[in-house]
């Protein structure tokens, strides 16, 4: 049986799960496609953006990121700025300014931004800098835990060379100091979603595979239960073993998902480039991750995906200068405007322009995601993007200063009409922290609620003022 067709997979529990269809499906089947629940895809950039600021090197850097004026997004307000890469999608994006993170005592701007970005939390240990951990779960994880089928983990994907500052993948948290692991290899992410529906496998072979896995899972589950009954197991051990136990159960009802042929072909050779810090490879990996993210939310495998590019300060990746064809210095050096991971080192000539070129590459990658989500149509002909949100955010406001103020958030999609679109607006509140309210608003848009059943208004640090950014709502 060809995998590109609609299939119905019988879950272990006997439930019949209708699988939605992707772009490659034939028209009659496409008409039967189900619309997934509201979803969120987070696309994270590090190091701030090239915006107007006084350079530490003694000159004023011009504005190169934000639109020229608030209000409706037009070609005139976007041109010349990094966001003009999104011109084609301007009617489906909302650019939000003046989102301010709290200046927690992480001991390092990148730790503060990367770990707070999706958690709205301070550190477990103040001042730990590169050894920091966030003190609560991240929004992407909470969406998965509460809204995914059977509480399956949300997808967490990482592109670029691993390791380095903050240990590499660092934006997604299961709980306090419980950092989640990311898929670095897109093939691994795809295989985990495809389950028993592997490319090229016959229906009979797939059914046998499902039966084998079910039998083994039953056996392993029994062993895990006996382990969990050990009277001297510590709380920490019990928690980790319980997570393992739950993971066995959750994977028994995989949904059949499929990628386009071109993406499948690229997956075959992905081992050769996914771990590289060469910018060309980073973007190839990022786009494959975006293909998989689109597939995953389209077929209802997850309601949330987080895509992290680069480590805590994106210091392992070198992007290519499109004008010279040469690899630039690593992004962190460029953001510092110096050949250094700190405040020392030789100045890099024209570093603010190079930073802008990096911003544009992130914008292009984000556009690719919007392209995919727009091209993927629902049964009523509406683009998949309309039913969820794709959020491009940066965990710093700018480069050398590592500002927690005005961290860029671009929201693509409306989550079924929840968000305004086609505008650039700056939220109020002066310079006070309101980033937690941004996360509340994003969470509410995709279906999260507070304990009272109302809109999610208390995500993140309980010490921060509750609420949402109502001005973002349509």
């Amino acid at each position: 049986m060809k995998l590109g067709r609609r299939r119905v997979l019988k879950g272990i529990g006997g439930a019949m799960l209708a699988l939605p269809l992707l772009e490659s499906f034939d028209p009659p089947a496409r008409a039967q496609k189900a619309t997934p629940g509201p979803f969120a895809i987070f696309f994270r950039q590090a190091n701030g953006v090239a915006c107007e600021q006084n350079s530490q090197l003694g000159y004023r850097e011009p504005e190169r990121f934000w639109p020229t004026a608030t209000g409706a997004l037009t070609a005139e307000t976007m041109m010349g700025r990094a966001v003009d890469e999104l011109l084609e999608h301007r009617e489906r994006v909302l650019i939000v300014g003046n989102v301010n993170m709290k200046d927690y005592e992480y001991g390092d701007g990148h730790a503060r931004g990367a770990l707070q970005g999706l958690t709205a939390r301070g550190p477990t240990t103040p001042g730990a800098a590169g050894d920091s951990e966030a003190s609560g779960p991240s929004l992407d994880h909470r969406i998965g835990a509460e809204l995914n089928p059977q509480g399956r983990d949300s997808l967490f994907l990482y592109a670029g060379a691993d390791g380095g500052w903050l240990g590499g993948s660092c934006i997604s948290y299961r709980g306090p100091a419980q950092r989640r692991a990311a898929f670095r290899n897109p093939k691994g992410a795809f295989d985990s979603l495809a389950g028993a529906q592997q490319p090229g496998m016959s229906a009979d072979a797939s059914d046998l595979l499902t039966r084998r896995r079910a039998s083994i899972n039953d056996l392993v589950r029994g062993q895990m239960k006996r382990l969990l009954a050990h009277p001297r197991l510590s709380a920490g051990d019990r928690s980790r073993l319980q997570l393992h136990f739950d993971s066995i159960r959750s994977l028994e009802v995989q949904l059949g998902c499929q990628l386009e042929d071109a993406s499948l072909q690229m997956l075959d050779g992905v081992d050769a480039f996914y771990a590289s810090g060469d910018g060309d490879n980073v973007w190839k990996t990022t786009r494959l991750h975006m293909d998989i993210a689109t597939m995953a939310v389209a077929c209802g495998a997850t309601r949330s995906v987080a895509i992290q590019v680069g480590n805590g300060n994106d210091s392992n990746n070198r992007y290519r200068d499109p004008d010279t064809g040469q690899l630039m210095e690593n992004f962190h050096y460029i953001s510092h405007r110096r050949l250094s991971h700190d405040a020392n080192g030789t100045p890099i000539p024209g570093a603010d322009l190079l930073h802008h070129k990096c911003d544009r590459q992130f914008a292009k990658a984000y556009k690719y995601l919007l392209d995919k989500l727009t091209a993927n149509k629902m049964p009523d002909g509406s683009p998949l993007l309309d039913h969820g949100i794709a959020v491009w955010y940066n965990d710093l406001g700018n480069g050398p200063d590592h500002s927690p103020q005005s961290t860029p958030f671009v929201i693509g999609g409306s989550a079924n009409g929840y968000f305004k679109q086609g505008q650039y607006l700056r939220v109020g509140g002066g310079g006070d922290p309101n980033h937690n309210k941004m996360l509340n608003t994003l969470g509410t848009a995709v279906g999260l609620r507070n304990q009272s059943g109302g809109p999610l208004d208390d995500f993140g640090d309980p010490g921060l003022p509750k609420g949402l950014l109502d001005e973002l709502k349509a």
């Binding site: 691993d162 691994g188 056996l219 050990h230 051990d237 993971s247 994977l251 050949l339």
Partner: protein
């Protein structure tokens, strides 16, 4: 330079404890032979060896370090000054441990790479090593990877007779469980007996202990489903394939589990099989071999002598070199050497593969120093030997280095310029900007990793270093970070800079220099080591000061303990760390003996009666 010996040392700010050093205070003058002679005398008369009743006895065996490798500084039946500290009961295998165990289970070559299917583990909370047993977990993503890997491995080892036969357990009557048959495998005429023999024999190796009756029956039931699940295969092979899939997904394979719970004399003794796994994963990073399992089966690993003998055997195996190398790779951040990128405009002649070459140099140095040379921590940080090819030899200023080509050869560096690993190219170039030496990062590295000092992160919005304006690199850093009364000065003036400035005689790629920006370099400083301020004239003095510092030895042994246990040190570890540090610092024990002392100690062979939170 004088270093007071025997002073009380603070051991990490968060967990201070005191170490009483029993030797008399020794004043050490690094420029003379006095310290060396003193150390030699201590070595000759102070080799600590196994002693019953918890006493550390002294045996004058007169062996050289190399010959004395068999004399184990084992501590058995010790007093409760070194109690076992709480540890996890479920230590998930690291991916290298998983890969190695798969390799050894099926007698595969060294080129397997099944673990590529597993998602990477996150680095958490700054734990230096890749084996943090309190955080390694199995989530949806990893479970999926384990599942697919188990299926691929099972197919690989059961669908080709040449790959199947080597690992099949013997099932002839009287064969020792776990023994593998020299090909071809013994065959039982009764299929059920053959299946049972397979399940029990392979199960012992996969679970690293005999199966319980319930486990055996469950696996046998699965085995019998093999023909239906793999209709195209022979019955035995199909059953074996299905059982292999299951055992590779079993928590008893994926974790190093310790279920012992019976308390005895204030401890929980581990079973022989649990000891076998502790030893094997600590010293080889893989599952126990046949000899360890046989010893466990005979219940001999509850005997300190047998444990010591096994530890000696294992440390003589090349796999131990890999583990010791892995420890030092992580401690010295050798994995980051590849990222060293000096500015081409400033260093136009730098070898293109400089990072890889200095990594090779350091790995070779560590291996040869600790194994062939039977060296201790002191040798690591004070030896003038190293291993270089033509490229690196040129940077060290070795006259005939061009003849080395790509071969790495042992050389003795100029003792007036180099001493130990901190004066080698890798450390120096890693801790440099692309154009200048970086005394701040050099100092921070030494303070954190070799004095175990806690240093607060710098405040936000630190302005960049100003331009030198004719000053030396040191003068620029001093002016920027040591202004009296500033928050910067609180750490830089007393802790960081004094540990970094002695290295100003090495440039950003580690070459020796005497001038900086047309001024003579100044390398003297007064670092605080072990709570005592010492004066050093240069990096050579600093290396000696660290070698003479009880705190540096404690810090090094703390890292070893954390690596061996796969967790951060706990208050109950203090006694053990102090004991190991004493063996290293005062008795100048080789690192291999220190490792032996660690893994043969009661703390290692028992569980605490307390559990982790």
């Amino acid at each position: 330079m004088s270093v007071p010996n025997g002073a009380n040392r603070n051991f990490r700010d968060v967990d201070p404890f005191r170490v009483r050093v029993s030797c008399e205070t020794v004043s050490v003058h690094t420029s003379t032979l006095a310290a060396r002679i003193a150390r030699m005398l201590l070595t000759l008369t102070g080799v600590c060896v196994l002693a019953c009743g918890g006493e550390i006895s002294v045996r004058n065996d007169g062996d050289s370090p190399a010959r004395g490798a068999g004399n184990i500084a084992s501590i058995s039946g010790g007093p409760e000054t070194e109690p076992p500290a709480p540890s996890t009961r479920a230590a998930r295998l690291t991916h290298p441990q998983w890969e190695n165990s798969v390799r050894d289970l099926f007698h595969l070559g060294d080129d397997t790479s099944f673990s590529k299917m597993l998602r990477s583990d996150p680095v958490q909370s700054g734990f230096l090593f890749d084996n943090n047993s309190t955080t390694l977990s199995v989530d949806d993503a990893l479970w999926s990877g384990y599942q697919r890997a188990a299926e691929q491995i099972a197919e690989y080892v059961t669908t080709d007779a040449s790959r199947l036969n080597p690992w099949l357990p013997a099932v002839t009557p009287g064969a020792a469980p776990g023994a593998t048959a020299a090909p071809p495998p013994a065959t039982a005429t009764d299929p059920e007996a053959r299946a049972r023999g397979f399940v029990e024999g392979f199960g012992l190796r996969a679970h690293r202990r005999p199966l319980t009756a319930q486990e055996r029956d469950e696996y046998l039931a699965l085995f019998r489903m093999g023909s239906a699940m793999y209709p195209g295969m022979g019955g035995f092979e199909a059953g074996a394939r299905l059982v292999v899939e299951a055992m590779l997904q079993s928590p008893h394979f994926l974790y190093r589990l310790e279920q012992s719970a019976d308390e005895r004399a204030g401890k929980i003794p581990l079973t022989s099989y649990e000891v076998a796994s502790r030893l094997s994963f600590a010293l080889w990073n893989t599952m126990p071999d046949a000899a360890l399992l046989e010893s466990a089966q005979a219940n001999r690993l509850i005997e300190s002598g047998e444990v010591a003998a096994q530890a000696q055997r294992m440390l003589a195996d090349p796999r131990a070199q890999e583990v010791v190398g892995h420890f030092h790779d992580q401690l010295f951040q050798v994995g980051r050497f590849e990222s060293i990128k000096p500015a081409p405009g400033v260093f136009p002649d730098l070898p293109t593969n400089f990072g890889a070459e200095v990594a090779t140099e350091q790995r070779r140095f560590v291996r040869e120093t600790l194994f062939a040379g039977q060296g201790g921590f002191e040798a690591l940080i004070t030896s003038t030997d190293t291993y270089v090819n033509a490229d690196l030899g040129k940077l060290y200023g070795i006259a005939n280095a061009s003849s080395f080509g790509s071969d790495f050869r042992k050389v003795t560096l100029d003792a007036s310029q180099r001493r130990g690993i901190f004066t080698q190219l890798g450390f120096l170039a890693l801790n440099a900007t692309s154009v200048n030496p970086d005394p701040i990062h050099r100092g921070v590295f030494l303070a954190r990793r070799f004095t175990c000092a806690t240093i607060s992160a710098p405040p936000a919005m630190v302005p960049p270093l100003p331009e030198p304006m004719g000053r030396t690199n040191r003068e620029t850093v001093e002016a920027h970070t040591q202004m009296p009364g500033t928050i910067c000065a609180s750490c830089h003036a007393s802790i960081i800079n004094p540990l970094g400035f002695p290295f100003e005689s090495y440039d950003a790629i580690g070459r020796y220099r005497t001038m900086d920006n047309n001024h003579p370099v100044v390398t003297s400083s007064d670092p605080t080591i072990g709570g005592q301020q010492v004066h050093v004239d240069n990096a050579l003095d600093l290396a000696e000061a660290l070698a003479d510092s009880a705190q540096a030895h404690q810090c090094y042994m703390q890292h070893w303990l954390e690596f061996a246990y796969g967790r951060a040190q706990l208050p109950d570890d203090a006694g053990m760390i102090a004991k190991l540090a004493k063996l290293s610092h005062e008795d100048h024990q080789p690192v291999l003996r220190l490792i032996t002392a660690l893994v043969t100690s009661p703390a290692f062979l028992n569980r605490s009666t307390k559990e982790l939170p």
